[in-house]
Amino acid sequence: MTEPVLSLKGVEKRFGSFRALGPVDLDVGAGERLGIIGPNGSGKTTLINCITGVHRPDSGSVFFESRDISHLQAHKRARMGIARSFQIPRPFTGMTVFENLLVPLDYCHVEGSKHDRARSVLASVGLSGRISDPSEKLTQLELRKLELARALVGNPKVLIADEAMAGLSEEEIDEVLEILFALNRSGVAVIMIEHIMHAVMRFSQRVVCFETGRLIAAGTSSEIAENPLVQKVYFGE
């Protein structure tokens, strides 16, 4: 693995007496493609929320480019280069597709013309034809693309795609995967959280598996597929 761009050291999150996550140690290399799998309730989204700053960990630290960002608010982490998409798309309703991209551009530092940047990112995800449409009118695939476009318009160094392919057809999954591969080729580390196994296995250089808030296995796609602990989680004894 290359030099870590993102590191979690002993990160733990509790909701009351329920421990949703951790303690977790995890490194993500610069430009890496990391897959995160695990059944529902295994702590994947809590993990993302702790990385992006939506939740503050109860203990442990999050490092981004060797800087401890555990105390930073989510918007500051986003400006540093940690972007995410949401499990259920959250378009900025009441705005056009174009305006949706202007929001991060207003608040994250990006070189050059904001309008040019928004247009070029929309073109890269195939949404040029919908640029002036209200975001409420997009299809499920287009909403997923808009989430990704909004996440990557601010030139992130890490993109966390939270179930970006949920509910899509095989062809649509291929489209989203191609966008993520292209983004990764430009040097962005991509963390993919997904239940669609063939997509995760195809995409990821390394896969980690979570269960009940703990990281139980890590390895390449084939190693994970043959791991007895992972098989037990998904198929039982």
């Binding site: 400006r79 972007a83 949401f86 305006e99 207003d106 608040y107 309008h115 640029i131 002036s132």
Partner: protein
């Protein structure tokens, strides 16, 4: 300057010119008396919409800010003899500070809890005024306003002209907020606070800015009121009718653009004024309630939404 901004500027100049010329065109002072109330509600609805419409934080405390402006202005005039423009400016500043304080205390909660907390502001401020004898306490205080300037035909005409200026300034401020990065950030907050925060939007700071601007406009709307009525009392200055209208007018006109609150206030306040003199002032509340229910049920986006005013503000 963009075409829409030029059109807005031209419209604002026309409205201001009419505001100054009206007293020479219309002789009946009642029109100015009624027009003042309509313009006051244009200002209140516009101020409320900066937080309630753009950011989606429903504020039931509009009457608190309005009443604070009323009493501050009355106090500054009767005690120090401050001229009206300075009273309005002071009210706007205090309204902004009050907005930030309210924001700090309440913005970490959302939805109905936020609404209830803001309602508390009205009760707290009204109770404070009730217990300050220097402000007249529960019995109120008489405010004998300044003699209108030589260019004005009378107190009603002067108050009307002052309110035209405040209303135009408020609408211009709301429009600037709407088309700026602040407005885009606030609309992102309204759509999804987590998504906005994860897009780099400093949501708490932005909401505080909205609270301050909204509070400033609402308090400024109340500043000329003592000179309009010559008498202020807590029951009317902090009246819940003001809070109800502040919400109803933008909802009827449309909350997503600056035009909505203006349309809603012009329509609703005009009808209320007509109903007051032709039928009954009590009928106002019934009318507001009925119209509000109708719009929430059949046109939740308000009148401006029906006419497609919610198209994108930034052209690709």
């Amino acid at each position: 300057m963009k075409k829409n901004s030029l059109l807005f500027l031209a419209g604002a100049i026309i409205v201001l010119t009419l505001g100054f010329l009206m007293p020479w065109l219309l002789r009946n002072p009642f029109y100015f008396f009624a027009g003042y109330v309509v313009l006051q509600y244009v200002t209140i609805a516009t101020g409320w919409n900066i937080l309630g419409g753009y950011a989606g934080y429903i504020n039931f405390g509009a009457a608190g800010f309005f009443g604070a402006g009323v009493y501050l202005s009355a106090f500054l005039f009767t005690t120090f003899g401050l001229p009206l423009p300075l009273c309005i400016l002071a009210a706007a500043i205090v309204g902004a500070v009050l907005g930030v304080l309210m924001g700090y205390l309440t913005l970490r909660i959302q939805g109905v809890y936020f609404a209830i907390a803001t309602l508390g502001l009205v009760v707290v401020l009204e109770t404070i005024v009730h217990n300050i004898s220097g402000l007249g306490g529960a019995s109120g205080m008489a405010v004998y306003g300044p003699r209108p300037p030589a260019w004005s035909l009378g107190p009603s005409q002067y108050n009307f002209t002052v309110m035209v200026v405040i209303a135009v300034a408020s609408v211009a401020l709301a429009r600037w907020v709407e088309i700026s990065w602040i407005g885009r950030g606030l609309r992102a907050v309204r759509a999804s606070e987590d998504a906005a925060e994860c897009s780099g939007v400093p949501t708490l700071r932005l909401k505080l800015v909205a609270c301050a601007l909204s509070g400033a406009v609402l308090a400024a709307a109340g500043a000329p009121y003592p000179f309009y009525t010559s008498f202020v009392e807590p029951v009317t200055a902090f009246s819940l009718i003001i809070g109800l209208n502040a919400i109803a007018m933008p909802l009827i006109g449309g909350t997503r653009t600056w035009v909505g609150p203006v349309i809603g206030a012009l329509l609703l306040a005009s009808v209320q004024q007509i109903a007051t003199v032709t039928i009954s002032s009590e009928l106002n509340i019934l009318f507001v309630g009925a119209v509000l229910i109708a719009f929430v049920a059949f046109a939740p986006g308000g009148i401006s939404d029906l006419f497609g005013r919610n198209k994108g503000r930034a052209r690709p």
